[in-house]
């Protein structure tokens, strides 16, 4: 094989490692915000997903059960966000931030309580690899297309978009706004949980206390950059993953670790994300009722 083809293949391989956690979480963000609920808690939901996927996979020896546990953990924490922001009409940003704070400390606490470690869990069984990547990677490839189809071609998708754009009108047409929003938030948490599970039982094969290291927020940025659409968000995630791949290879090429320059390279993807957000002004458009609490008895 020619060197160029080999380089491209390596890059594709790396891309299929870095992008899936972001893609899954970003799709979760799209699902929640399309229905009108801001989800800053993606980071925390990913963390719960990553931890419980690893813990259950280690406990049962079965990575597939770990995968289910990761999705359930994400969905459960999202249900709390739904309860607070829909039932008790809490501020959605504050509720999401609070969820992140709880996820940060609770998972650290559980890691210590269950595995007696402040850093990493023991190695966990990993998901079997299909064509060199876990099933979750391939899910992340297919899911953006599936979600695009749901949003644009099905009645369910239309209803979700309707409660996010004009809940009062959707309610008049017979859609149960709060119920549908709750479902979307819970689904969003399940996706973020799967994104977290990709990190722990898909890629690394153990849980690291630093997970997901800001990837939930990157996913949120990708969602905004992708204009709240599944395909746009997925494309943005691929771009961010590409930036990560380039950052790592540059870091290696320039011997960043020896020269104490690592931080400079690590900061690059975040700075780049910010720059892109700053440049994409005016072309992005959030769902009209995103973040607006819905009161069934209101005017």
């Amino acid at each position: 094989m020619s060197p160029l083809a080999q380089t491209l293949l390596d890059a594709l391989h790396a891309l299929l490692e870095f992008a899936p956690p972001l893609v899954l979480a970003a799709l979760g963000g799209v699902l929640s915000e399309k229905s009108g609920v801001v989800n800053i808690g993606l980071e925390g939901m990913m963390r719960f997903g990553a931890f419980f996927a690893a813990a259950v996979a280690i406990g049962t020896g079965n990575p597939w059960l770990g995968l289910v546990a990761g999705a359930l953990a994400g969905a459960t924490s999202a249900a709390l966000h739904a309860l607070l922001s829909l039932r008790y009409r809490a501020d959605q940003v504050v509720s999401g931030i609070a969820l992140n704070l709880v996820a940060m400390s609770l998972v650290t606490f559980l890691l210590e309580a269950i595995f007696g470690s402040a850093g990493v869990s023991p190695p966990s069984p990993q998901l079997p690899r299909i064509f060199g990547h876990s099933a979750l990677t391939w899910l992340a490839v297919v899911l953006p297309l599936a979600m695009h189809w749901i949003f644009t071609r099905t009645a369910l998708g239309l209803r979700i978009r309707a409660v996010g754009e004009h809940p009062r009108a959707a309610a008049t047409a017979g859609v149960s706004v709060l119920k549908l929003r709750a479902l979307c938030v819970i689904g969003s948490g399940a996706l973020a949980g799967l994104g977290g599970a990709t990190l722990s039982i898909g890629i690394l094969g153990q849980f690291d206390v630093r997970m997901p290291a800001g990837q939930g927020f990157m996913a949120l940025a990708a969602m905004i950059f992708g204009k709240w659409t599944p395909l746009g968000a997925a494309a943005a995630c691929v771009f961010f993953a590409l930036a990560e791949v380039v950052q790592r290879s540059l870091s290696l090429t320039f011997h960043a670790a020896d020269l104490h320059l690592e931080g400079l390279f690590l900061a690059l993807p975040y700075a780049l994300t910010l720059l892109l957000l700053a440049l994409s002004r005016g072309r992005t458009r959030a769902p009209a009722a995103d973040g607006v609490p819905y009161d069934p008895e209101g005017r």
């Binding site: 940003v93 704070l101 927020f217 940025a221 931080g263 700075a271 607006v292």
Partner: protein, 377 residues
């Protein structure tokens, strides 16, 4: 990310902030108590140790007040940004730049103490304030939501300072092979914050009066000056404020600068008071905790002082928890749960209404109770 509505809902809990906060903290403490029991550890002794480590004697009290002073400032930082309707998640990054600026200036300038300390504090305020102007500009000029931009800027600050500056260009270990001693050179003795009760073994330093004085000034500014009023107008209703001729963008920039400056000074207190250099490993989380302090404090300056010292005591006490095998991150768990509960004041609405109902028998406070329950308009 429509942000106009959550401002209103943020100001809504201010109707009964003290009760909400107390209920939330009580619930959080109970949940955590059960969590410790569930892991098979001794919860009663754990909480006794927590109390001992927070309040038992001069040294623990000093630690509590020391940590509390820093949290008061980061809490004020988040509170000030809230007044113009911005959610500053970036106090951590601003804290880090402030700490670095204090370490560099405290080391570089040969000044007497009465100049060295203000110089270092001023540099820290400037560094934190300038870093906070980035999200302010992104918000007003480019429409980037501040929650996203401040979070990303935290990572940029952490990576740039901890991963590069402190282990590279500003490191005392530059050139030598030993990376483990990385960290900046120690600050001059003149820049050390004087300890208030050194003879009692307490590390409590001048940071406490500094933090309290700043808190009082911020409170006076926000509630008693024209500019403070303008900021609150922008936070409560940007369109109405603009219609009255209050420039939104200028108010947001000013408030974010002050917000960042407060977080920067908080970082300086740690460096000048206890660390005396920017250490090679420095992940304190004081900036993140400022979010909890501000929210549990009901987004007011006096509330930030109360919540800051409470969480400071919790932080100091939680170091003792390791004795019974409980991870010190436990304090953060209590904090997170408390925020989760104050985020939804309506959870406590029925309870509050009942309390108010009793009070209104003797006083004419019934109006507040009815608006609390019937506030679903």
């Amino acid at each position: 990310m429509a942000s106009s509505t959550w401002r209103q809902s943020l100001f809504a809990p201010a109707r009964a902030p003290l009760w909400s906060a107390l209920f939330a903290i009580l619930c959080a403490l109970t949940i955590c108590f059960i969590a410790i029991l569930a892991t098979g550890k001794d919860a009663v002794n754990g909480y006794a140790d927590l109390l001992q480590g927070a309040l038992g004697g001069a040294r623990p009290l000093g630690e509590s007040a020391l940590k509390g002073s820093v949290l008061v400032l980061t809490g004020l930082s988040v509170t000030v940004a809230f007044t113009v309707g911005l959610f500053n998640i970036g106090a951590e990054g601003q804290f880090i730049w402030g700490a670095l600026a204090a370490a560099v200036v405290g080391n570089a300038l040969p000044l007497p103490a009465f100049l060295a300390i203000p110089a270092a504090l001023g540099a820290a305020a400037l560094a934190g304030g300038l870093w906070a102007l980035i999200p302010a500009w992104l918000k007003t000029a480019r429409g980037v939501h501040e929650v996203i931009s401040t979070i990303l800027l935290n990572w940029v600050a952490i990576d740039l300072v901890n991963g590069w500056l402190v282990s590279g260009p500003l490191s005392v270990a530059t050139g030598s092979a030993d990376v483990s001693v990385a960290g900046t050179a120690a600050i001059r003795d003149e820049a050390f914050l004087p300890r208030l009760f050194a003879q009692s073994g307490s590390r409590l330093d001048l940071g406490l009066p500094i933090a309290l004085a700043i808190a009082a000034l911020v409170w006076l500014f926000l509630t008693r000056t024209r500019r403070g009023f303008e900021w609150r107008c922008v936070g409560a209703g940007p369109d109405a404020a603009r219609a009255q001729g209050i420039p939104n963008a200028r108010c947001i920039a000013e408030a974010m600068f002050l917000s960042g400056a407060l977080a920067g000074v908080a970082g300086a207190l740690i460096i000048l008071g206890t660390e005396h250099r920017y250490p090679g490993v420095f992940r304190t989380g004081y900036g993140f905790d400022g979010i909890a302090v501000a929210l549990v404090g009901g987004v007011t300056a006096p509330g930030a002082v109360l919540a800051g010292f409470f969480f400071g005591a919790l932080r100091a006490g939680s170091t003792r928890l390791q004795l019974v095998g409980i991870h010190p991150s436990f304090a953060e768990l209590i904090q997170g749960l408390a925020v989760l509960l104050v985020a939804a004041p309506r959870i406590f609405a029925p309870l509050l209404a009942r309390l108010r109902g009793r009070a209104s028998v003797s006083a004419t406070a019934g109006v507040g109770a009815s608006s609390e329950v019937g506030g679903a308009t």
